[in-house]
């Protein structure tokens, strides 16, 4: 584990709707602080903080601290993070394509 990530089962990461939503937001916005992630995900601060800690433990995301402010983003050095980010992008794009086709029909 070169980047200090803990062993975590994939179902543990993806078993929470909140965590998946956070990953989707970070895919779209690149980097954000906790309050803003919480606002966009529709979660409270404490829950968001917990989810972020789990995702960081899994090595998928990382943070930078600026005084009291913590800014989270995908951990681009982690292969799992790269693949998850790609999965999110492809998934979103496919959804857009489908809704476009439906509108045209």
């Amino acid at each position: 584990m070169p980047d200090g990530a803990a062993i975590m089962m994939i179902e543990e990461v993806f078993s929470s709707r909140g965590r998946v939503r956070i990953l989707r937001i970070l895919t779209e916005i690149v980097e954000l602080n906790i309050s803003e992630i919480a606002r966009r995900a529709g979660l409270n601060y404490a829950t968001t903080n917990q989810h972020l800690q789990i995702l960081e433990k899994a090595g998928v995301i990382k943070h930078k601290s600026f005084g009291r402010i913590r800014i989270y983003r995908f951990n681009e050095d982690n292969i799992k993070a790269k693949i998850i980010k790609k999965l999110m992008e492809v998934w979103e794009q496919e959804n857009k394509n489908v809704s476009q086709t439906v509108r045209e029909v």
Binding site: V30, L32, S35, E36, G67, R68, I69, I71
Partner: protein, 422 residues
């Protein structure tokens, strides 16, 4: 039978719509009017090369030995003297130089007035360039400055930031922001110095409002930009005309007049450029393919109402006639100066029209002086080099058509009226 009547009607309707569509897409005098926008930075910098070189010299160490030394420079000059464009050109060239030397240097230009003179908002703008989604609340300006320095350290960035319209920041926040910005490097025990400043001010006297220690750190390097001369403004305008207008849409007389007016407004290039843009709009409204000096006069009138109706009505009868002659001349001709002799001739024609005996030369010369002092006309001696000397009359700030309309109305209403002089 019925259909045969309807058919031509339909055809007529189609023709009408075609005409409408044609008028909507009438060919404009502009090729790209964004090139006349206040925020546009032209690729070529006119008549500010020496100041650009000086700025480069001041920042030489920042580029040659990054991290060893930071710099603070003040640029002053009145409105439209090229302060912003100078800083932006410097920003471009310094970025290019840094790229060539593989230095992670950034240039950020911030307008303090647009940020309501708030130190917090200014810093936020800078931080957002590096982290666009950085939270907007939850910390003080001091914390934000520390955050900025942390970002510069973490990401190994050297930053030159220009604080444009600095008056606004001084007015709202006093000395504190500049003191903190100029001293931040000294309070850090890091070896790398990262934050350099360019401060843009209209008037250097604003620095007197700062406390002594802040002033002393700032005042060492000052570049003062004098007003552009008429000739320099012509170069600036010629450049913009090529970019913004279609070929042949703006005559040299039009450019000369705009440059002259910009020169009179304290060598203000911004004003002269705006006049060109407005004049272009007037040409488009009239659906003519060329911007004439008359359009520039109209543009001036739309910026400031120069001739007031009551002023025109209060003029003596023969002054009105003389002015009418001038107005008619400029309406019919493209030149921007009228020699005294020709003005007298135009006046004689008007006198004939009104069955009046024209006043003598000395009296007319007095009219010229009085009208010039009122600001309605401009009178200047012809340049040396011409044969003989004559007074040249110009109508730079008033639309000739508008003036003629006003004068005709005043003459119709009053006739010789009570204003009959001598």
């Amino acid at each position: 039978m019925r259909s045969s009547i309807q058919k031509p009607l339909k055809a007529k309707k189609t023709r009408f719509f075609r005409k409408e569509a044609h008028s909507l897409f009438y060919a404009s005098v502009f090729k790209d009017e964004t090139k006349l926008d206040i925020n546009y930075t032209p690729a070529k910098l006119h008549h500010r090369y020496s100041q650009l070189e000086l700025l480069k010299q001041y920042f030489r160490h920042t580029i040659e030995r990054p991290g060893r030394m930071t710099q603070r420079v003040i640029v002053t000059g009145q409105v439209g003297t090229g302060k912003t464009v100078l800083a932006q050109h410097f920003g471009r060239s310094v970025l290019q130089e840094a790229q060539n030397r593989n230095i992670n240097l950034h240039y950020i230009h911030i307008n303090c007035r647009q940020n309501k003179g708030s130190f917090f908002l200014v810093l936020q703008q800078i931080v957002e360039r590096f982290h666009p989604t950085f939270p907007k609340r939850g910390y003080s300006a001091e914390e934000l400055l520390q955050i900025l320095m942390q970002i510069l350290d973490n990401e190994n960035i050297y930053l030159i930031t220009t604080l444009d319209e600095l008056e606004s920041l001084i007015q709202v926040e006093g000395s504190e922001p500049l003191y903190k910005l100029s001293r931040i490097e000294e309070t850090r025990d890091k070896t790398s110095r990262r934050l350099s400043l360019i401060c843009i001010l209209r008037d250097q006297s604003w620095l007197d409002k700062l406390d002594a220690s802040t002033r002393s750190t700032l005042q060492s390097n000052i570049i003062n930009l004098g007003p552009y001369t008429k000739e320099q403004l012509s170069d600036v305008l010629n450049d913009r005309v090529v970019l913004a207008f279609k070929q042949g849409a703006v005559s040299s007389e039009t450019i000369t007049l705009a440059a002259e007016l910009g020169g009179e407004e304290g060598g203000n290039a911004r004003y002269a450029i705006e006049l060109l843009w407005r004049a272009g709009k007037y040409a488009d409204t009239e659906k003519v393919p060329e911007v004439s000096p008359e359009h520039i006069r109209k543009a001036v009138g739309s910026v400031y109402a120069v001739v007031r109706r009551d002023e025109v009505a209060a003029l003596d009868f023969h002054k009105k006639l003389f002015l009418l002659g001038i107005a008619r001349h400029f309406q019919q001709n493209r030149d921007i100066h009228l020699p005294m002799g020709e003005a007298e001739e135009a006046y004689s024609i008007i006198c004939e029209e009104f069955s009046e005996k024209p006043r003598g030369h000395t009296q007319i010369w007095k009219y010229v002086q009085e009208l010039a002092s009122l600001g309605v006309i401009k009178a200047e001696l012809s340049a040396s080099g011409q044969r003989g000397k004559t007074t040249l009359i110009g109508l730079p700030r008033v639309s000739a058509a508008e003036l003629e309309k006003e004068l005709s109305r005043a003459l119709d209403n009053a006739g010789r009226g009570s204003n009959y002089d001598d």
